[in-house]
């Protein structure tokens, strides 16, 4: 031992203070344990708060306002062109982050959680070496690994600080508004940030290697979004690869391969949003008994336990889906498991939301998954053009869709495209978790006029009692 080394002991060491990590730490503290929460940032929040969900949704909120203002002209309200003050937008975004981070910091402190800034590296199954901190080593009885994930880079192309080839964090820094922006990746991050930059005035070109956007979502839900994006983006190239990227001066020279007319193009900036990878490397996990899969995700059981009896893991580092709300749920399970409670992560559905315009949200079984599983299902769709509320909001490019078990009519999946899908999807999640049948939705009175009515109406169309659809005509049900 080195003289002057500061060793600390703790019941539970949580590594990573994202939504999963701080949820685990707070719950463990509430259960009476001595908790240390270690993160590279001084305040809890993690990638979600500082470089992910929160800043992106802050900017998307502005994007929605800008787009919405442009759409009111034919309704008789005309706004001037928006004036963009980028410095002020950045300050607003920082203020949002700051407010939430301070809140979390206070919540942690008041619970008696020790918030420690530093970088942890395991030196066995019971201790972690801490770098860049006043504490040099922490001995723990249990550790919760909550180190999350980070953006993947294209092979051979590093993300440089202030470079023109950016990852999501770089894009959210909002250094400038590039005249032209190439977005690589048609997943939710690419689509969301593409929408932000488009609203601020950038010309967006989007490329995706697969033949569709949001490949995990049923195509009928993506269709209204694709139509909208093709209006606000300059170009969308599917089945297209980026063969090379070369930062030359203030431009990025790009060569495409695939379904594109001009293979050589240059852009002011490039956003690489091709997915995320687990932060399981560089943590000294080889000194523990934690095992990982081929992609580097930590293998856990339903109790969030790894193959090392002292170490649990939660959130992105444990695999798909990489979502904050999954991580925070797992964090609580991990804390409860540590004190011996019979908790398990047995959520049947983990809802997902894409905050584009229109939004897309879904939970449970998708139609494509059901087909792959050869599962006997029935599907009902409700186009929002039938909804009074959607029409009054000029938001008719929406769709509500319910997937039910063909025999029991138990609800298995929900998909919603349209305004405020983020708020509507939770009813579907609750219905699935409760084991509801379609009729439960139909018999629950939904207020009128609201978008939430579309859920009950979908059920009623199916049961043949919808007021706004003629009996026997099931909307555009079971479409193509």
């Amino acid at each position: 031992m080195v003289m002057g080394e500061l060793i600390q002991e703790t019941d539970v060491l949580v590594i990573g203070a994202g939504p999963g990590g701080y949820s685990a730490a707070f719950r463990a503290a509430d259960l009476g344990l001595d908790v240390t929460l270690l993160d590279m940032q001084k305040r809890p929040g993690g990638e979600c708060l500082f470089q992910g969900c929160i800043p992106s949704k802050t900017l998307l909120n502005l994007a929605e306002l800008i787009h919405e203002a442009r759409r009111t002209e034919f309704m008789g309200v005309t706004f001037d062109q928006p004036r963009i003050d980028l410095g002020k937008i950045r300050a607003w975004k920082e203020k949002v982050i700051d407010r939430l981070a301070n809140g979390l910091f206070t919540l942690g402190e008041k619970r008696g959680v020790q918030l420690l800034k530093g970088q942890g590296v395991f030196e066995g199954s019971d201790r972690v070496r801490v770098y860049n901190s006043e504490i040099s080593q922490i001995k723990f009885r249990r550790a919760v690994l909550a180190t999350g994930s980070r953006p993947k880079s294209l092979p051979g192309i590093e993300f440089k600080q202030n470079g023109r080839i950016m990852n999501s964090a770089g894009a959210l820094a909002l250094t400038d508004i590039p005249e032209s922006l190439l977005v690589i990746g048609g997943g939710y991050i690419g689509l969301e940030l593409g929408t932000v930059y488009a609203s601020l005035g950038s010309r967006i070109t989007l490329v995706e290697t697969q033949n569709r956007l949001l490949p995990e979502v049923d195509p009928d839900l993506v269709l209204p979004l694709k139509e909208r994006l093709s209006k606000i983006f300059k170009a969308i190239h599917l089945s297209t690869r980026v063969l090379s990227l070369n930062e030359a001066g203030n431009r990025v020279e790009t060569i495409f391969g695939g379904d594109v007319d001009t293979p050589d193009q240059t852009f002011d900036r490039v956003l690489v949003a091709i997915g995320r990878q687990p932060n399981s490397d560089g943590l000294g996990l080889n000194t523990t008994k934690v095992s990982m899969d081929a992609n580097g995700f930590v293998v856990v059981d339903e109790q969030q336990r790894t193959s090392d009896e002292r170490i649990l893991a939660i959130g992105d580092v444990t695999g798909s889906p990489l979502l904050a709300h999954k991580a925070s749920h797992q964090g609580k399970v991990a804390a409860e498991v540590i004190v011996g409670k019979p908790s398990a992560f047995d959520a049947q559905v983990i809802p997902a939301v894409v905050y584009t315009d229109p939004q897309i949200a879904w939970c449970g079984l998708t139609e494509e998954e059901a087909r792959k599983q050869n599962r006997s299902i029935r599907v009902e769709r409700y186009p929002w053009k039938l909804s009074g509320r959607a029409t009054s909001m000029n938001a008719v490019d929406g769709l509500t869709k319910i997937i039910v078990d063909a025999e029991t009519l138990r609800v298995l999946g929900f998909g919603i495209t349209g305004r405020n899908a983020e708020g509507l999807i939770s009813e579907g999640a609750l219905a699935i978790e409760m084991g509801a049948q379609l009729e439960d939705l139909a018999l629950t009175i939904h207020p009128h006029p609201t978008l939430s009515e579309t859920l009950a109406e979908t059920a009623e169309i199916f049961l043949g009692r919808a007021a706004h659809v003629l009996p026997g005509r099931r909307g555009d049900a079971n479409g193509p």
Partner: protein, 427 residues
């Protein structure tokens, strides 16, 4: 930090107790010596004092729970004045995180989840109920919290109430008793210590096991062997000529094999691990042989398929080998039932111990002439001298009942009363 309080040894070989009352609640400050819990053993109610001064942080038992020695009853924080000091937190982290031991590999194909609300699922985990086994009362197979509760109650009741059929074979609790330390006998007088060796050691182990595991029940009967004895004397010489020895036990072996076939549960073993009874379709009978070193039990195989003469020869052979300490290990294995004959040494009544894992043993006493009242039809009852042999049947009461023992003994004794009857039973 935190201390667990486990059920202490209550003495007198008591290893479990029922919780009658929990005197303290979570958060209570207790002093060492304060009564904190009341339990009842099969002997008496006992108040258990707190071994610590501190604050109760967790209660792990409630009235009605059966707890075993070593079971964690509650946990304490060990602060002096009952106050939780800053930084000192009163929660125990179990050695294994979570309810199931060890990391469960998340392998295997996913099964369709049972429709039940998240709160119901949590309740099921708390009550350790497998949702797949619960009869759902909700529509479309939805399991409600009430369904889970009723299932848990029923499961508990079926364990407690004897006679309720349990569908699945379940292991039975095995009974283990810690042997208390012996006192120092030399303080009362001179003693000598002799090592426990060989046959004595094996017998000691086997009998200890049998007596501790098997609840014995005993049934006895006097068998009139007058006719059998004269039959035996008549054929003794011819068997001797074939180098055999025709003793009463040979007939008893044959009669026992017949009775075992009629009552197959006497030829079984209770498998407590699986909660099943194993019925054996072979009849290998052990015969206890007294040797200079102790008791040896060689086994005669397939007694049901061997003749009286064959058994006479084989038994003589086995006894000689046993006394010469030449019995092979495999010759002592595989027995399904045992006969022990105290009569050879002149003993009359005794209670043998079942040769574990068998479920019954038959003891024979010495046959002796006794005055017997004979009451024949159309005649006055008369007292006549008859050769009477006491037999005793010990049974494993987990598998067999006293009524079974009586029927078994009746069959056996009818066969032995009359050699012709014995012959008939063998047909």
């Amino acid at each position: 930090m935190t201390k667990s309080f486990r059920l202490p040894d209550l003495g007198e070989g008591i290893h479990e107790a029922e919780v009658i009352a929990v005197v303290v609640s979570v958060g209570d400050a207790v002093k060492e010596g304060d009564s904190i819990i009341e339990v009842e053993t099969d002997k008496a109610a006992v108040e258990i004092p707190s071994p610590y001064t501190g604050r109760v942080t967790d209660l792990r038992v409630k009235p009605g729970d059966i707890v075993t020695v070593g079971h964690v009853l509650m946990t304490f924080s060990d602060t002096q004045d009952g106050e939780t000091l800053p930084g000192e937190r009163p929660v125990e982290i179990p050695a294994e995180s979570g309810p199931e031991a060890g990391f469960q590999s998340p392998a295997g194909p996913e099964r369709e989840p049972v429709p039940a609300s998240p709160a119901t699922r949590r309740l099921a985990r708390e009550l350790r109920v497998d949702l797949r086994r619960v009869q759902p009362s909700g529509p479309a197979g939805r399991v409600t919290s009430q369904d889970v509760r009723s299932f848990a109650d029923q499961a508990e009741a079926s364990v407690k109430m004897p006679g309720v059929a349990v569908n699945e074979a379940k292991p039975l609790p095995s009974v283990r008793v810690e042997t208390p330390k012996l006192p120092d006998f030399s303080k009362w007088g001179p003693v000598e210590t002799v090592p426990l060796r060989s046959v004595r050691r094996a017998t000691s182990k086997q009998m200890g096991l049998a007596w501790s595991q098997i609840p014995h029940a005993v049934s006895q009967e006097m068998v009139d062997v007058t006719k059998l004895e004269s039959f035996r004397r008549k054929h003794q010489a011819e068997i001797e000529a074939r180098d055999g020895k025709l003793t009463l036990i040979v007939f008893v072996l044959k009669a026992a094999a017949t009775a075992l076939k009629m009552f197959p549960y006497f030829n079984s073993t209770l498998d407590t691990a699986s909660g099943e009874i194993i019925l054996k379709r072979y009849y290998h009978l052990g015969v206890a042989v007294d040797t200079d070193d102790g008791l040896v039990v060689p086994v005669i195989r397939d007694v049901d398929r061997k003749s009286i003469a064959e058994i006479s020869v084989e038994l003589k052979n086995l006894v000689q080998k046993a006394r010469a300490r030449k019995t092979l290990l495999e010759e002592m294995h595989g027995g399904t039932f045992t006969i022990t004959n105290a009569g050879a040494l002149g003993g009359s009544m005794f209670i043998p111990i079942i040769n574990y894992p068998q479920v019954a043993i038959l003891g024979m006493g010495a046959a002796a002439l006794q005055p017997v009242v004979v009451d024949r039809e159309n005649r006055e009852p008369e007292i006549v001298p008859r050769l009477m042999m006491p037999v005793v049947l010990c049974i494993d009461h987990r598998v067999l009942d006293g009524s079974d023992a009586i029927r078994f003994l009746k069959t056996l004794s009818d066969a032995l009363k009359d050699p012709e009857e014995l012959l008939m039973t063998m047909i």
